[in-house]
Amino acid sequence: MTEALRIGVFICHCGTNIGGVVDVPAVAEYASTLKNVVHAECNLYTCSSDGLESIKSAILEYELNRVVVASCTPRTHEPLFRATCEEAGLNSYLFEFVNIRDQCSWVHMHEPELATEKAKDLVRMGVAKAALLEPLEELSSEVIPSAVVIGAGISGMTAALSIAKNGFYVHVIEKEREMGGLLRRLYKLYPTEELADLFLEQRIKAVAGHERVELHLAASIKAITGYVGQFKVVLDENGAEKSIDCGVIIVATGAKELDPEGLYEYDGERVITQLQLEEKLRRDDLNLDGLENVVMIQCAGARGEVVGYCSKICCMNAVKNAKLIKDANPDINVFIAHNELQAYGEEYELYYRAAKKAGVRFLRFPLETRPKVRKRDGKQVVDVFHDRMQMNIPLDADLVVLSVPLVQNPDAERLSKLLKVPLGQDRFFFEAHVKLRPVDFATDGIFLCGTAQGPKDIEESISQGYAAASRATIPLAKGYVLSAAITSWVDEAKCVGCGICESVCPYGAIEVVDTEEGRRARVTGVKCKGCGTCGSSCIKKAVTMHHFTDEQLIAQERAAFATEEVVS
């Protein structure tokens, strides 16, 4: 570094938010005494257009080459201050953020003097780090303008069609020979009671017929490499190997019914699952004239029996099938033994009422006392403990239908490893943020939708399909992605290729490769999120985190304790 350091420090009052506790002018006064600091000022709101203007003019006036802002939190405001530095011609990574709101005025609001001292300490540390900051660049990389959608169920088809309509090429990969997923086994849909076949036929036609959609049926995925913008997916399609380059990937692999073996005397004939019932209804081979009593058992295997979660769709699915049987032959007694009834939302509550009106009987059992199926002399009886009446009610049942939950497909495990994206405790794919990012993965460029993310009905699967299409279209439409500048870097002279960094990286951004010097770790900058996990786990100190180098952090720590040497 030949250029002399010229650091500017801006201390924010944040109205009374900081200024009401911390003596802001005193902190600014103190900052101006620190080594390399040529300018220090306070602002009422550093983030207001006024405050930003004063940063820009100070950069020019005092020829600042480092900027420190002491205010609120980098989580919300760092991008703004970085952009401001950039506008004044300063590389945005020559900026350091000091949080004196959360760390001082908020947590020490009853000790204003100590809060002020701490603010001074933090500013001193920030200035010490700023002295060692280096300019960094965000690298732009190209995005291949096409998408891969894995799974051609209803959510995958929806996502694929919308991306195609947005103007981009889409490859749809499906392991079966036909599109449609779980819907192909359904009879009618709730709450409209339209035929699943007709519904699917229209959708399949629209997807298959779109000029920008290419189908890969009976295909399995052999390998996935690359990163956002530059993925390569290798397929086995009908025995032939095929390689697809794409910019984004959507996971829409769906879910399956829990295997009911061993539950409630399941035999596949007189004790069947809801899906098996649907198949009978659609093939018309349920003898509706010979049936007298049908009993449906909810939460079979769910909510603590086999899996812990509620499968969301089983109540309404049972209500639908019960109503359809009742509509076809009102003489059949149809009972639904349930615990809570998940007729949520607008339409379902009404549909539930309609089923009651059609004569479907609802019996609530406590979750601790689930129904039992007894077989005797060729007869079947379901014992249901009635919650309100607090007594056992034996129900004759020619047919018992188990509402078993949706569970993750067994091959999801393999796909999660290929994509390096996580599964949750419930084995469903785990999104980037449960609340705010329901169809993103933490890894850039990979998205998810439909029941692969968790049980959901058709409407919600469609909604998520469109949502994933929107999220995936963003990089495609932009045409480029910016890689974060704060990434890790491996000094290959120090690296021994042990692979610890590769095993801990949550983004698959660091890999051990063969080089002429032997096995060495390498970072793919576009994938790296700068979390620092690799750096802290490296036993050889071969990994450097840009913007958080050992030198920078040690300088910051030394400044925390050694006050003299940093004051000019």
Binding site: H77, T192, A343, P438, E459, S463
Partner: protein
């Protein structure tokens, strides 16, 4: 915001029109969110900033759409910008005007539980942080103008009409909480310590009117609270047979938060059907019951009576032959979320249809963002009850439909 953000990121210009002074919506009023107990404003504020700062998003707050002409691809939208009586470009949000203003007015954002000044932002994290003057209640003292260092006060500011030409429109106007005053059996508005769930959110919020203390009108902190589910929901008396979808979970969350603040407190939730159907919800309810000791009681109360000490006695029937009572010192009504007031008029402006319960009607039930008018899409609770992640997915979904129009030129 999610729809606007996705579109903007895809390079499409967006005009985001918001009726109130700040973007953020109802989520900003919540303390935490289920099932992760994330602080609502902490995870929301960065999103608000992202939207506001985005080069492709023009944010018009305190504004309403008043007319729409044209059709898909060539809509002309007329927007009324209501006067803030403050120059938006000059105000830097310092709050000096608010400090000198002598007026005290109940703050709607805090469910009328806190007094704000006549010069105000609805909450400290409001985006944009631009003050407004409540001229209807103003006594014209002129103090705000005299202290404003930015010379931003504009007493004579008028409503401004702006027009924007757009290809597609997304409606995401959210919900209102149901007002339970009409349901006399619960005594809301009559009894001191019967409050609504949204009022509870403000009470338990550390940045709220009581600094996070759940206190009664008489100043006592609570020891026993009961939540009553389905207030105004699943109720055919007033044409609201539907389920609001989120109340079981928000009541569970509020009970957990109470237990975290006051481990000794007794918390009971009186419900009809416990609807915990989303991802991680059953596990959340299990945690509430097993780890926090929240009590779930099946039974809808018939009546609540206020005792002399202002405690409340709840009468409910747990089984067909019994009536039991529960005495608590605060009742929280888990009120339904209902379509916004004035939605009929707005739908008329848009030229879209509503369903029988005033939610935006879909052209096709399996096309969850498409209204009855081509080029107008709908997102969030105003279409049907849904929770935050579903609203976010729905917002992105509507964005993709709008992208089909703008990027793909698809008018089908």
């Amino acid at each position: 915001m999610q729809a606007a953000f996705d579109l903007a990121e895809a390079g499409i210009k967006v005009c985001l029109v918001e009726r109130t002074l700040s973007v953020g919506g109802r989520m900003a009023q919540l303390d935490k969110t289920f099932p992760t107990n994330d602080c609502a404003i902490c995870i929301l504020a960065p999103k608000m900033m992202d939207c506001y700062r985005h080069e492709n998003i023009e944010v018009l707050t305190f504004s309403e759409v008043i007319a729409i002409e044209g059709e898909i691809g060539t809509f002309k939208v007329k927007i009324s910008k209501k006067p803030r009586f403050v120059d938006e470009a000059k105000c830097n949000g310092c709050g000096d005007c608010a400090r000198v203003c002598p007026m005290g007015i109940l703050n709607k954002f805090d469910m009328d539980l806190r007094v704000r000044s006549g010069a105000y932002v609805p909450f400290m994290q409001a985006v944009p942080l631009i003050y407004a003057l409540d001229r209807a209640k103003c006594m014209r003292c002129g103090l705000c103008e005299s202290v404003c260092g930015q010379d931003a006060i504009r007493y004579n500011q008028k409503e401004e009409i702006v027009e924007r030409e757009v290809s597609a429109i997304i409606v995401a106007i959210g919900f209102d909480p149901f007002d339970p005053s009409g349901l006399t059996e619960y005594g809301y508005g009559k009894y001191d310590n019967v409050i609504t769930a949204l009022e509870f959110e403000r009470l338990i919020c550390a940045a709220g009117p009581t600094g996070g203390h759940v206190i009664r009108k008489d100043g006592r902190e609570v020891k026993r609270i009961a939540w009553i589910q389905c207030v105004g929901a699943r109720d055919t008396r007033d044409n609201r047979p539907y389920c609001s979808s989120v109340c079981c979970m928000y009541a569970t969350k509020e009970a957990i938060l109470t237990k975290e603040h006051y481990p000794e407190a007794e918390t009971s939730i009186l419900y009809t059907d416990l609807r915990c159907f989303g991802k991680g919800f059953q596990e959340y309810v299990n945690r509430a019951e097993d780890d926090y000791g929240v009590e779930y009681i099946r039974g809808k109360p018939g009546e609540i009576i206020e005792k002399e000490n202002k405690n409340l006695e709840i009468f409910y029937s747990p089984s067909s032959d019994k009536v039991e009572t529960l005495e608590v010192d605060m009742v929280v009504l888990s009120t339904a979320l209902i379509p916004c007031g004035g939605v009929e008029k707005f739908a008329e402006i848009l030229g879209t249809e509503l369903d029988g319960y005033k939610f935006f009607k879909l052209k096709d039930p399996y096309n969850p963002t498409e209204t009855t008018r081509a080029g107008i899409f709908v997102a969030g609770y105003c279409q049907a009850p849904r929770d935050i992640p579903e609203c976010i997915a729905h917002g992105s979904a509507a964005a993709s439909r709008a992208m089909e129009v703008v990027l793909g030129g698809s008018f089908l």
